[in-house]
Symmetry: C2
C-alpha cells in the first residue's frame, strides 16, 4: 500500500521517531514520510511507534491508499528532500 505518515511527537522523542520512520519510509518534508508498505509492515511500524510514543501526548497519522496512482502529489515551493533541516 502507498502510505503517507505524519507524526507529532514531543521534541525529546523526535530523533527516535525520525529514525523509525526512515527505516520504513522516505522522508519528504518536516515530519512527513511516504512509501510503499505491506499490511504487515504497517502493523510493525505502528507497534514500533507505540514503543516510542507517549500516546497521551503524541500522535502518528497514517494515510493509506491501495494504489499509488489514486494519489497525486503537488509541490509548491522548495523541492523535496534537498535539505537536511527537519524537526
Amino acid at each position: 500500500m502507498y502510505v503517507i505518515a505524519v507524526y507529532d511527537v514531543a521534541a525529546e522523542r523526535t530523533p527516535k521517531m525520525l529514525k523509525l520512520c526512515r527505516r520504513y519510509l522516505h522522508w519528504i518534508q518536516n515530519s512527513v514520510f511516504e512509501g510503499e508498505l505491506s499490511e504487515l509492515q504497517i502493523k510493525e511500524l505502528e507497534l514500533d511507534a507505540k514503543k516510542i510514543m507517549d500516546e497521551s501526548h503524541d500522535s502518528l497519522i497514517l494515510f493509506k491508499s491501495r494504489h499509488f496512482h489514486y494519489m497525486e502529489k503537488q509541490l509548491v515551493g522548495k523541492s523535496l528532500n534537498d535539505t537536511d533541516s527537519f524537526l
Copy 2:
C-alpha cells in the same frame, strides 16, 4: 477532491499559512490539514500560499485523491483536533 496539505514554512510565516490553510481545510495535526476542495479551490489555495511563502525556503505539499474512499486514515496515539498546540 480529497486533499491532504502539509506545509513546512519559516516560523515567522507560520501564522499566515495556518490561517490560510484553515480557510480551505480542516486542521488535523501539527502542520497537516485535510478536506474536500474543487480543482479551482486547490488553484486558489496554491496562489494564496505562494503570496505568503518564500519559495526558496518554504514548501507546501498537496496530496490529492479523486475519491475519499480510496484513502484510509489510521491514527496512533492522541486523537485529532483535541488540542490547541500547533506549530
